[in-house]
C-alpha cells in the first residue's frame, strides 16, 4: 500500500515538474545512508545521514516536492547562507571514539544546543536576522533556542570558527535537555518521516538510551549568490548515536550485534523517495591493521588454509550479509586505510527485512585515530569569588603529527586554534593569560601566533577569545590558564535553580594544519553523498567539556527586608544629622526645664544617672532655667508668621 502511495507521489511529482524544466527537477533529490562502526570500547557508532537538495529557486520556481518547505522559507526569509543546528546529549569520548576522522570532527558536538548561522545580508542586519532565526528555529524544533536571541548569549567569531566574513553568529545552550520532542520535528523534515527507509531504525527508547546522541541539521544555500553556478539548497541531517550492544559475548571478545538487537528494529520498507539508501559498516584503520596482522600470522603458522580475498574470510569477524561492494580507503605508508562495506536496503520488504549482523570471532583490541592533542578543560580555585579556567592539552603521540608536518624537526610547529566563549558573569582577566608547556610557564606572547579578545560587557555581550597557539611538535602537555572573578547578578537574572550553577560553553579546539578526510581509490564514489561527505576536507575540531560555575546567590526571599532596612538606615542618617544641625540651645534648655517641671519619674531619673555615670560626668539634677524664654517666644511667633506669609505668597502666585 505504502509502496503504491509513494509511487503515486513520485508520479505526481514528476507530472507537476514536467510543467517546468524537466532536467532541473531531477536535481532535487533525497538520499539516505547509515554508517555503522564498531568502537574499541565495545560500543557501536551509528551515523544516519540524510541529504535533501533543491535546485536554485530562480530557475526552478518555489515549489518543491521533497525539500522541506519550512526550511526553504527559513532560508529565504532570513537569507541564510549556511547554518548548523545540533542537539546533543552526552559527551563525545575523543580518547576512545576517535578524534581524527570526519565523523568525529563534524559530528561530535557540545552538549545541549549549538547553533551557528551565516547570513547573506548587510553587516548591520545580521543581528536582526539572527534574532528572527532563533525564534523561528525555536518554534520549529520545540526547543528554547530563542534564549540565544539576546546579545549576551551569542557571539560573532571573527575568524576561528567558520568563515571570516563577519556575518556569522554562534551561540550555544549547554543546558538544553534534548529529547524526542526535538527529534520528531527533525524527522518531519524527511520526506518519508520515520515511516519508511532507514529512519525506521530510529527507535526512540534505544536512541535515548545511548551513550551519546547528536542530531544535527546542516543547511547550505547559495541562493543569493549572483553566480550562475549556484547549486541551490542542500539540507543535511545527521543523527549520530553511540550505542552499546546488549549481547554478552565473553570477557575479551567484542560483543556481536545485529541491527535489530542494537536498535530494536530493522528496515522493512525502503523510502521510495530516496535515490539511494545504503548501509555502510566501517572498520577502522587500526582494526584492519590488526586483522591483517592476524591474517599474516595465520598464514605463517597454518599454510594449509587457503586465504581468499573475500572479506568473509576475515579472521576477526563475519558479516551476515554479503556486501554489495567493499570500499577501501587510501592508506599511508605503514598501514592500509579503513574499509567500508556497503549494503543496500533497496530489496528489503516486510517479509524480508534488512537486518545486518556482525559476529566477532576473535578478541581484538585497537585504538581510534587521535587528534594530535587531546584537550580538556577544568576550573581552578575554590569559593565563589574568583577562579581560573584551565585548558590542558595532552599530546596523544599519534603519528598524525609526523605525517602532516614532514619537515625539519626544529621547524616543526603544531598550530592549535582555541575559540572560547565566556558569559559576562564570568569576568575574565585576559591579562592573566598564562601558557605552560610541559609544566614550564612561558613568557607571554612567544607561543601565541594570533589572538583576538573581545571582552564581555556586563549584561550586553559575551566575552570571546580566539587564539592560535604555536607549539613545538615535541610538546607533551600544554596548559592555558585564565583567571576570572565571578559576577554578582540581580535577583531577577538568576535562573529558577540558581544554586545549580552556570555553564561556560565548550571551548572549540581546532588544529588548523590537519584535515580529517578519507580518500578512496575510486573517484566515482563522490556521487554518493555520505561518501563525498567523508571525503570532504574538514578541519580537525574537538570540543572541550562544559564547565559548571557555581555563583554566589543573594537571599531571594529578602527584597522587602533589604529595602526597608536600607531605607531605615538612610532615614536614620538624614534625620539624626538634620536634628543635630538644627537643634538650638535655648530650645534644649526649655525642653529640659519642661521635663523637670513635669516631675521626672524614677525611671528617667535612673536612666539619666546611669548615662551620666557611663559618660563619666557628675550627674546634675535637672535644673530650671528661665533665660531666653521670652525671646524664643517672639522668635517662634516670627517664624510662624514667616511660614504663613510664604504659604500665602505661594498660593497667590500659583493661582
Amino acid at each position: 500500500m505504502s509502496r503504491l502511495k509513494s509511487c503515486l507521489l513520485i508520479f505526481l511529482a514528476l507530472f507537476s515538474a514536467t510543467e517546468s524544466i524537466n532536467v532541473e527537477v531531477l536535481n532535487e533529490e533525497f538520499t539516505e545512508a547509515l554508517l555503522l562502526r564498531p568502537l574499541p570500547d565495545r560500543k557501536v557508532l551509528a551515523h544516519f545521514h540524510f541529504r535533501s537538495s533543491a535546485p536554485p529557486s530562480e530557475r526552478c520556481g518555489r515549489h518543491h516536492h521533497i525539500f522541506p518547505k519550512s526550511i526553504y522559507q527559513l532560508v529565504h526569509k532570513f537569507q541564510v547562507r549556511e547554518m548548523e543546528l545540533s542537539f546533543t546529549q552526552g559527551r563525545w569520548n575523543y580518547e576512545r571514539w576517535g578524534g581524527f576522522d570526519p565523523i568525529s570532527s563534524s559530528n561530535a558536538k557540545p552538549p545541549g544546543v549549538e547553533l551557528w548561522a551565516e547570513f547573506d545580508v548587510p553587516q548591520d542586519q545580521v543581528d536582526y536576522s539572527w534574532k528572527n532565526l532563533t525564534h523561528a528555529l525555536s518554534g520549529l524544533f520545540c526547543a528554547s533556542i530563542n534564549f540565544l536571541e539576546h546579545s549576551s548569549s551569542y557571539s560573532a567569531p571573527q575568524w576561528s570558527f567558520g568563515s571570516a566574513s563577519g556575518k556569522l553568529r554562534y551561540g550555544t545552550l549547554p543546558r538544553e535537555a534534548v529529547c524526542t520532542e526535538n527529534l520528531t520535528p527533525w524527522l518531519k523534515l524527511l520526506p518519508c518521516r520515520d515511516k519508511a527507509g532507514l529512519s525506521l531504525l530510529m527507535d526512540r527508547p534505544s536512541i535515548y538510551r545511548g551513550y551519546y546522541h547528536s542530531q544535527r541539521l546542516h543547511l547550505k544555500s547559495d541562493e543569493f549568490g549572483a553566480s550562475e553556478m549556484s547549486t541551490g539548497m542542500v539540507l543535511e541531517q545527521t543523527l549520530t548515536v553511540v550505542l552499546r550492544p546488549d549481547t554478552f559475548s565473553g570477557q575479551a571478545l567484542q560483543p556481536s550485534w545485529s541491527l535489530s538487537s542494537l536498535i530494536g528494529r530493522s528496515v522493512s520498507r525502503k523510502c521510495s523517495l530516496s535515490s539511494s539508501s545504503n548501509v555502510y559498516v566501517q572498520f577502522e584503520q587500526n582494526l584492519v591493521f590488526e586483522g591483517d596482522k592476524l591474517k599474516e600470522d595465520g598464514e605463517a603458522s597454518e599454510n594449509a588454509i587457503p586465504v581468499g580475498d573475500g572479506l568473509e574470510d576475515n579472521p576477526l569477524f563475519e558479516l551476515s550479509l554479503p556486501p554489495k561492494r567493499v570500499i577501501k580507503e587510501l592508506g599511508n605508508s605503514q598501514k592500509a586505510g579503513s574499509i567500508l562495506h556497503e549494503f543496500s536496503v533497496e530489496d528489503s520488504n516486510e517479509f524480508k527485512p534488512f537486518d545486518l549482523e556482525l559476529n566477532w570471532k576473535l578478541p581484538v583490541a585497537w585504538s581510534c585515530p587521535q587528534a594530535p592533542l587531546q584537550a580538556s578543560r577544568f576550573l581552578l580555585g575554590s569559593g565563589n569569588e574568583r577562579g581560573a579556567i584551565a585548558i590542558s592539552m595532552k599530546s596523544t603521540k599519534s603519528n598524525n603529527v609526523e605525517r602532516t608536518s614532514s619537515f625539519d624537526e626544529n621547524e616543526c610547529w603544531l598550530r592549535v586554534g582555541i575559540f572560547q566563549i565566556v558569559p559576562w558573569y564570568v569576568k575574565v582577566y585576559y591579562h592573566t593569560l598564562k601558557l605552560f608547556l610541559d609544566g614550564e610557564p612561558q613568557s607571554s606572547m612567544e607561543n601565541i601566533e594570533k589572538i583576538i579578545v573581545s571582552p564581555s560587557e556586563d549584561k550586553v555581550s559575551t566575552g570571546v577569545m580566539e587564539m592560535i597557539l604555536r607549539l613545538p611538535c615535541s610538546v607533551n602537555t600544554a596548559a592555558l590558564t585564565l583567571e576570572f572573578d565571578k559576577g554578582f547578578l540581580h535577583i531577577d537574572e538568576y535562573p529558577p535553580d540558581a544554586n545549580q550553577g552556570f555553564d561556560i560553553p565548550s571551548a572549540v579546539i581546532h588544529f588548523a594544519d590537519f584535515v580529517a578526510n578519507m580518500s578512496f581509490y575510486d573517484d566515482s564514489l563522490k556521487q554518493v553523498p555520505i561518501l563525498s561527505k567523508l571525503q570532504e576536507e574538514v578541519p580537525v575540531v574537538s570540543y572541550t567539556e562544559v564547565l559548571l560555575v557555581p555563583l554566589t546567590t543573594p537571599d531571594f526571599s529578602m527584597p522587602y527586608n533589604v529595602i526597608t532596612i536600607t531605607c531605615t538606615v538612610f532615614a536614620l542618617y538624614f534625620g539624626s544629622l538634620l536634628n543635630a544641625l538644627r537643634r538650638r540651645v535655648g530650645e534644649e534648655e526649655r525642653f529640659l526645664s519642661g521635663k523637670g517641671a513635669r516631675k521626672a519619674g524614677p525611671l528617667t531619673l535612673m536612666i539619666s544617672k546611669l548615662s551620666a555615670k557611663l559618660r563619666g560626668k557628675p550627674w546634675e539634677s535637672p535644673k530650671q532655667s528661665e533665660s531666653g524664654r521670652s525671646s524664643s517666644k517672639y522668635k517662634l511667633l516670627a517664624k510662624v508668621v514667616l511660614v504663613a506669609g510664604v504659604a500665602a505668597a505661594w498660593q497667590f502666585y500659583f493661582q
Partner: protein
Amino acid sequence: MEDRSTIGSWRNKLGFWKWAIASVFFRLILTYFSKNLNLSSRPEVSTPLTSLRRLAEGYWLKQLSMSPYSGSMYHGSPLLLSILGPLTVKKIGGLSGELLCSLVSLVADFISAILIRATGASLVRAYLHNWKSLGLDKLFKGNEVVPSGDVAALVYLWNPFTIVSCIGFNTSAIENMFVVMSLYGASAGLVPLAAFGWVVSLHLSLYPIVLVIPVVFLLGYGLDAPPRKLFVQSNLQGEEKRSACHAELKSMNDKFSKTNFSWWRVVIFFLWASVWTSYVVIMCAISMKEYGGLGEMFKRTYGFILAIEDLSPNIGVLWYFFAEVFDFFRNFFLIVFHVNILFMILPLAIRLNHRPCFLAFLYLAVSSMLKSYPSVGDSALYMSLLVLFVNELAEMQFTFFLFCGYVGISLLSPVMHNLWIWRGTGNANFYFATAIGYACFQIILVVESVSAMLNHDRKIRKLCNKV
C-alpha cells in the same frame, strides 16, 4: 611663646618622624609578604573602581589597541592608566609590577601624611590665635593643646585601614592624596595647588566634587574658627581693654576672622580650576581619541559610579540593595540615594561655614558612607581628618563605643564574607548585616562629631559672653 612650648613638649613626646619612618618600614615589610596576604581581592580593600588588577586588564586591552573600557573591567581614569599601567607589567630587578604599584601608594600615603600634618599645624596655630583673639587664652593654662597635625598624620600612617589599602594594590591611596592636597592647598592659601588637587580628585572619583564648598570657604574666610559673630563682639569689647602688645596678634586675627569674604581668591581658584580641568580634559581626550572619545570615558567612569552597575559585595549597603530591589524602582532609588549626599550639603554648609576643614571632613565622611563603591581607604582618610579636630572634639560622646564598633565590624565583616563566599555556610544577609552596622557606626560618628563641634562653638560663645 607659651603655647608653642606646650605643643613642642607634645611633639617631643610624640616623635613624629620616628613613627612615620617606622610606618614606612612596616609597610615595606608587609608589601614583601603581600602575595601571601592576598589583600588585593578583598572586597573591603579594592573596589571595581580602585582595583589595580582591573587597571592592569585595562592596560592590557589598551596594548592590544582596544578601548581600555571595553569589557566592563576598568572604570578608572585614562590618565591613571597611562601612568600606572606600565608599572603593572614592568619588572625591575626582581620587583614585580604589583610591588612597584604598592611602592607608589606608599609614597602617596607618605605625602598625604605630610600634607595632613602641615594642614593640622596651621589649624592648631589658627586655633590658638582664635582663642587669644577672643581673649580666652587665660582660661586654658593647665591643659595643653594637642598638636593635632602630627597626631592625625600618624593616625593616617598607622591606621590599619590605610595600611591595608596601601598594600592591597589599589588606587585609593592616590585618590586620598589628591583630596588632601586640595585641602592643604586651600588651607595654606596655595590656590593653584588647591585647584589642582580638587580637579584631579574629582577626575579620579566623582565624589570630591562636593569639596568645592569647603575649599571655597577656606579660601574665602580662612581656616577654621569660632563663629564670626563672636569676633565682632569681642573686638568691640576688647578695643579698650587690649593693649598695644596685642597689635601683631590682631593683625593675624584680622586675617582669619575677617567677616567679609575674599572673593578675589575664590575667583582665582575657579580660574585655576578651569585651567586644570581643561588640561585634564584635553589629556583625557588625547588618550581616549581612538577609543570612543570623552563620551565613552564619562559613561564608563562617572556613569559606572552613578548607575551602580557592579553588584559585587563591598562594605557599603547599596550593592545588596540594588541586587534585590525590583527593577522598576531601580532608577527611583538611584536618584534618592545619590541625592541623599547632596541633600545634606547645604544644611552643613550653612551651619558650619566658619569651619571649612571640618566641613570637608564631614563631606568626605558622608560620601564615603553613601558612595556606590566604598572601601576602607575612604574611611581611613576621614578618620585621620577627624583627628585634626582632636582639640575641638575633646568632648565628643560615644567615642569608646564607636571605636569598639569599628574594631568589631572590621573583624566581623571578613568573617561573614568568608562564611558566605568561601564556606557557603552563611548567606548574603550576614555580610549585609555587617555592612548595615558599619553604615550605622559611620552615621553615629558623623552626627556625634557634628553635635560635638556645635557644642564646642556653644561653649566658646558662653565663655565669650562671660568674659
